[in-house]
């Protein structure tokens, strides 16, 4: 006879309150980060296979399903970025500038500014070199 221990049911626990739901949305971003990496990896593989397979991959990106995926993925990436910087005061060691500890708000603001600047540089690099 096998010993049957009681396992407390945990299904749907995150529906109990808003903090749990926010946690699950934040963590769900990892699914979209992984999926986006796979979209790029498939594109890279198609690129190596030749012109026709790569054009098929590009055509697939313009389908409603792919566009819908990227709209949702964009939302999760923004959520990831925001929450990533929001916890940075806790994940980084104390930073001192001129003998004073940088405030939590300062760290979050610096992270958000860095993201805006990096995104702007990326966009302008693509824009200036566009065909």
């Amino acid at each position: 006879m096998t010993l049957r221990t009681y396992v407390r049911p945990t299904a749907g626990w995150w529906r109990r309150n808003g903090h749990y739901r926010a946690y699950m949305v934040r963590e769900a971003s990892s699914v979209f980060v992984t999926a986006y990496a796979l979209v790029l990896l498939v594109g890279l593989a198609r690129l190596a296979q030749g012109r026709v397979p790569f054009e098929a991959w590009r055509a697939a990106l313009a389908t409603p399903w792919a566009l819908g995926f990227h709209v949702v993925a964009l939302g999760f990436f923004v959520c990831h970025a925001w929450t990533w910087f929001a916890v940075m005061p806790k994940t980084l060691p104390f930073i001192r500038v001129g003998g004073r500890r940088v405030s939590d708000d300062g760290i979050v603001a610096a992270g958000a500014c860095a993201a805006v600047a990096a995104s702007l540089v990326l966009f302008l690099a693509v824009w200036w070199t566009r065909p």
Partner: protein
């Protein structure tokens, strides 16, 4: 005592998370929406010839590898740690599956980039 591999995977998770936070939204916007729709940026931005030249270039190779690999390591590590939250009991086997997936994707990207070769 066997040394833990935790710091390695945690660092890759952190690096991927930082990269995804800094440029992730803009990358998705450019490659997934603006270029496929031809909005603001022309569709030919990601033409075969341009992308092939990008993948033959050292900087392009590094950018593609870093984005694909770190996003995979970040996502897989985080998904693994979420399994318990959705009621899946985890162990070394599942951990190996998730980290192995990121390693396999990285190796695949490296092999493809080597196969594409260098210009000239």
């Amino acid at each position: 005592m066997k040394r833990s591999n935790k710091p390695i995977f945690w660092s890759l998770f952190g690096a991927g998370g930082m990269l995804a936070a800094l440029v992730g939204p803009m990358l998705v916007l450019i490659t997934g929406l603006l270029v496929p729709l031809g909005l603001v940026l022309p569709q030919s931005t990601m033409s075969y010839d341009r992308m092939y030249a990008f993948a033959q270039n050292g900087f392009g190779k590094a950018a593609l590898l870093v984005v694909i690999s770190l996003f995979l390591f970040h996502g897989c590590h985080r998904m693994y740690h979420c399994l318990q939250d959705v009621g899946i009991h985890v162990g070394p086997g599942l951990k190996a599956v998730f980290h192995g997936f990121a390693i396999a994707g990285t190796v695949a990207a490296m092999l493809i980039l080597v196969a594409i070769g260098w210009a000239g």
